[in-house]
């Protein structure tokens, strides 16, 4: 997936906000790529373009693996809020994506049940979202998108609202899941540790208008163990380069 010379401005009341201007990004197939940047740097705008919810004013967004045509409906997307439907059970929420794609309800439920265990939701199939913890809610949200089995999945700060301990276990869980089910993941976050621990590549975005100002390859072998990786010397070298890049932009 790639963005070439992408610009996007939108109106916010009387102001005109330039979220992206001549932005270029390359997301290699099958890689775990993070986009890091300060709040309001246009990360979410970029994801909206990637999943086809929004169109660029200039430039192009393409996904050669998916072929030509509309991106909307063909790229997986996990939003920042879990937006679970309070009136549906865990299973009902998990099947929402498949149902939208025209999958029958029974078939969708069967497929959701197969994954409950892997997503740590076994025994909670009939619970309502309000009865779940934050981490579980987020896993339901990811199950809902991952059940659609997209080649490309966009995750918009999915762990942003979780506490630090839950967040670390969710990161480990996501990595394991990704290693079993390879797909392209574009992961947006403002947490540098999180980005480095998870990704093959990390792109640093500047404040508005958002551009990629630094791209790093994270050559840490997999499978990665959280405690070992985040305390290693190499990890901290990469981290200091990113932090340095951030400071220069701020």
């Amino acid at each position: 997936m790639r963005a070439r010379g992408v610009s996007r401005t939108y109106r916010d009341g009387a102001r005109t906000v330039t979220a992206l201007e001549g932005t270029n990004v390359d997301i290699p197939d099958g890689k775990f790529v993070s986009i890091v940047g300060p709040s309001g740097c246009g990360k979410s705008t970029l994801l909206n373009l990637f999943c086809g919810l929004d169109k660029p004013d200039a430039g192009s967004v393409e996904a050669p693996t998916l072929g030509a045509g509309e991106l909307l409906g063909r790229v997986g997307y996990v939003p920042q809020q879990d937006v679970l439907m309070a009136w549906r059970t865990v299973t009902g929420n998990a099947t929402a994506g498949l149902e939208c794609l025209g999958c029958g309800r029974e078939e969708a439920r069967r497929r959701a049940r197969e994954h409950m265990d892997r997503f740590g939701l076994a025994g909670f199939e009939l619970s309502y979202p309000s009865q779940l913890s934050g981490g579980m809610r987020q896993r339901v949200a990811m199950l809902r998108t991952f059940l659609c089995e997209r080649k490309i999945n966009l995750l918009d700060e999915p762990f942003g609202k979780l506490d630090a301990i839950t967040r670390a276990s969710m990161q480990t869980w996501l990595l394991e899941y990704w290693q079993e089910n390879r797909c392209t993941i574009v992961f947006v976050t403002h947490d540098i540790d999180e980005a480095l621990f998870l990704s093959d590549e990390v792109h640093l975005m500047s404040p508005r208008p958002g551009r990629i100002v630094l791209s790093l390859e994270v050559d840490v072998p997999r499978p990665r163990k959280y405690g070992e990786v985040v305390t290693s010397v190499h990890f901290n070298e990469l981290k200091s380069r990113l932090l340095h890049g951030l400071r220069r932009e701020a």
Binding site: Y77, W87, E99
Partner: protein, 252 residues
């Protein structure tokens, strides 16, 4: 809430007792204000007439209410889907509520005669508006992030409506339904006043002409009981339809 059914019952009993004493001690003309005991006796003595006329009113009311709800829901959904339709239709919908319904009812009788149609139409005219307004309100309260997500799943507008917007609009729609039900009772009686041969509204005119005040009061009592039962019936259906809310409340 669950402090019980007793406080309202006690208050009601107190008011009825005071009324009885007032009429008896004050030697009030029973043609102006009959004592509750006389009303109760009249009600029991004429229960057959009350029930058959009540049944007529109930069927007009339910048919009209069902029609009003369907019209209200459809209008609400159309106004939500098509912005231009909302802008074009909203002032006219408000206008229908500015026209006094009792003034329209004779026209309906002129068109449809002494049948059930003008009564049901009057009920529908009064009940569709709160349903339409609460539907528009409820539908626009859906989380826009959820809509965006469903669109990334390739959901068409109709799918978004049935899967996300309607369920999240239900609590508000039911508020509208309760108002609509209360108005329906008024609509049915007004519809009967302008032209009918049966029903509780007809019965009221009948007793009034004959100076049977106790009968008039008894009819009003039946009407009130019917209205209360219907109102709570809507609440009961609501609890059933929005059963998931129980779980939401547990954690709030």
């Amino acid at each position: 809430m669950r402090s019980g059914i007793w406080p309202p019952l006690l208050l009601g009993a107190g008011i009825i007792a005071a009324w009885e004493i007032y009429v008896r001690v004050g030697r009030i003309d029973p043609l102006l204000l009959p004592p509750p005991s006389a009303v109760a006796l009249y009600l029991i003595g004429n229960i057959q007439i009350m029930l058959s006329n009540g049944g007529a009113t109930l069927s007009e009311l339910l048919i009209g209410f069902a029609g009003g709800v369907m019209i209200g829901l459809s209008l609400g959904m159309l106004m939500q889907i098509w912005r231009w339709f909302r802008e074009a239709a909203y002032p006219w919908l408000v206008a229908t509520q500015m026209v006094p319904i009792p003034a329209v009812a004779p026209i309906l009788v002129l068109w449809f005669g002494f049948t059930i149609v003008p009564k049901a139409a009057t009920v529908a005219l009064m009940s569709f508006f709160p349903v339409a307004v609460s539907t528009v309100d409820g539908l626009s309260s859906v989380n826009p992030e959820l809509i965006r997500l469903l669109r990334t799943f390739g959901a068409r507008p109709w799918k978004v409506m049935t899967m996300a917007a309607l369920p999240s609009a239900l609590p508000r729609i039911f508020s509208g339904l309760r108002v609509a039900m209360a108005l329906s009772v008024v609509g049915a009686v007004v519809g009967e006043w302008v032209g009918s041969t049966r029903g509780l509204g007809f019965l009221m005119l009948h007793y009034e002409n004959r100076g049977e005040t106790a009968g008039l009061f008894a009819t009003v009592t039946v009407l009130a009981i019917m209205g209360i039962i219907l109102f709570f019936l809507v609440g009961w259906v609501e609890n059933w339809a929005i059963s998931w809310r129980r779980y939401a409340k547990e954690t709030l």
